[in-house]
């Protein structure tokens, strides 16, 4: 928004939501069912109780908690930043976005650093980005770091990742105290992290370089700095290590906005055929459990289904934490909601097609702006062995990943050499007109 000098988007309401629905009676009935289910389903209850901070412990145990700028997948001081510590020392309330029954938002308060609760408590992503990934175990500082980011609308993932990048540059002597105004940017230095966030927000000193993100900063710093950037299309990886959930890596690589962990499902959801998550995905066509590190054609198909479903969720305004398989609103109920709200008479395949249409339009936009298949990549570090945790010694295999990407291009009917969606597929998606946009 800043680059376009856009200050705000105003929305004028034109009536009550329920009154606008095509079949308000059916929609209300489904709403009542969903409101009942949210209190009973284990996943929605967990999101309410712990919120996303509850992910820290499990991802650490599985070797998938980004640590030391993605060099490792487990943090030896993880207990200091786990949900249990968060709840004990900071949590004051569980809140929600407007009218949401899940209420996964955390509110916090504490006096030590005089953090006002208006900025909310850090999500899992912020805990890992400022915590384990910067080797910082001071939960006070991590909670405090969330505040200026929300105040100045800095993305906490990119900010934390860019600071971790700068710490690695400092560790290797590419930047020194004279570059940082005397700040010791060693991994683990919580006070340094807080000082750098302020410098980024106000574009002071090295903050002016880091404010552009790690890719741009690496160009300025030079030398081997580029090898410390963990980003795709200029966007830093979010806090999920693809070495342990490989199709999240496919999403990081191919997403139109750069590394994004919410463009599909996570492999860890479908390893056990008796799990709630797996059963929730069956109606979408995911019928075979696969290991989290499997990168076979079947896994690519899982990814493709998940990408279309997640894209549909975004296009229709569903939160990622609402529908199955990530959460509790069953896929069939999502379909009923769409039909009742719109008056359409569509099937699940149509919803998946809505999602696929959106990703193709975004792809065409990117092609017009000069992106190529070479931009659909992962940072080199992800192919190198993780240095600690359950996955120590394991990286993603280069050839296997490239093969999977090729399979994904084939499923999407995108040209492997040019990245261009086929005219036939665009026609089937009723967006043949969009192919002309690539020429301009």
């Amino acid at each position: 928004m800043g680059s376009k000098n856009l200050k705000a988007v105003a929305v004028r309401d034109s009536g009550r939501y329920g009154d606008l629905a095509n079949d308000a009676v059916s929609l209300s009935e489904i709403g009542r069912q969903v409101a009942k289910q949210v209190k009973e389903h284990p996943i929605s209850r967990d999101l309410n109780d712990k919120g996303t901070p509850g992910l820290v412990g499990g991802l650490n145990a599985g070797g998938m908690l980004p640590t030391y700028n993605f060099r490792a997948g487990a943090f030896d001081q993880v207990d200091e930043i786990k949900w249990e510590a968060y709840e004990k020392h900071f949590l004051t309330a569980r809140r929600s976005c407007y009218a949401c029954a899940i209420r996964c938002k955390r509110e916090i308060a504490f006096d030590e650093r005089q953090t006002p609760s208006a900025y909310g408590g850090p999500e899992y992503e912020s805990l890992a980005a400022f915590g384990s990934n910067c080797c910082i175990s001071d939960l006070n500082a991590i909670v405090k770091a969330n505040e200026p980011c929300n105040l100045y609308t800095l993305d906490t993932i990119s900010t934390g990742m860019t600071i971790a990048f700068a710490m690695e540059c400092f560790e290797h002597g590419l930047i020194g105290l004279k570059d940082t105004d005397g700040i010791d940017l060693s991994f683990g230095n919580a006070e340094a992290m807080l000082q750098i966030i302020k410098k980024i927000a106000h574009r002071e000193g090295i903050g002016n370089i880091l404010a552009e993100g790690s890719r741009s900063a690496a160009r300025v710093i030079g030398g081997e700095a580029v090898s410390f950037t963990i980003e795709v299309k200029g966007q830093e990886l979010s806090m999920h290590d693809p070495r342990g959930k490989v199709s999240v890596g496919l999403g990081f690589a191919i997403s139109e906005i750069g590394a994004d962990h919410l463009v599909s499902f996570h492999d860890t959801m479908f390893t056990n055929p008796d799990s709630v998550s797996f059963k929730g995905a069956r109606p979408l066509g995911i019928t075979e459990a696969l290991p989290a590190r499997d990168l076979s054609e079947k896994k690519v198909m899982h990814y493709f289904i998940g990408e279309n479903w997640s894209s549909f969720e975004k296009a229709s305004g569903f939160c990622y934490f609402g529908p199955a398989p990530r959460s509790f609103i069953q896929v069939e109920d999502v379909l009923k909601i769409v039909n009742a709200a719109t008056g359409w008479d569509v099937y699940l395949i149509d919803l998946l097609e809505i999602g696929e249409r959106a990703t193709n339009l975004a792809r065409i936009f990117n092609l017009r702006e000069g992106f190529t298949p070479q931009d659909d990549r992962l940072p080199e570090r992800i192919f190198m062995p993780s240095e600690a945790g359950t996955l120590a010694g394991l990286g993603i295999d280069h050839a296997e990943f490239n093969h999977a990407m090729r399979d994904l291009y084939t499923l999407k009917d995108w040209n492997w050499e040019t990245g261009i969606p086929s005219r036939q597929r665009l026609s089937e998606l009723d967006i043949a007109w969009a192919s002309d946009l690539m020429l301009h």
Binding site: P42, I43, R45, G57, A61, Y124, T268, S275, Y320
Partner: protein, 76 residues
């Protein structure tokens, strides 16, 4: 034996506990212990015994062990 039920697994415990102390007599199969607690094996993604990840079907536990269980984890 200390047992941690991570993620949403605690909702399957009758008292919804995330941390339990369980008295064991000798070495036992973890699957048998979980069956007694009515924790569904189908909902378990990861088993860690004393910091080492093992497959549930191969997991044996004994007094003094620290066992952590986690369910399938999605993004967020």
């Amino acid at each position: 034996m200390r047992l941690h039920l991570g993620g949403h697994l605690n909702y399957f415990d009758a008292l919804q506990r995330a941390n339990l102390e369980i008295e064991l007599v000798g070495k036992q199969r973890l699957e048998d212990v979980l069956a007694r607690l009515r924790i569904p094996a189908g909902e378990i993604f990861l088993v860690s015994i004393n910091g080492v990840v093992v497959a549930l079907e191969d997991a044996w536990i004994q007094p003094g062990d620290h066992v952590q269980l986690y369910p399938p984890m999605g993004g967020g």
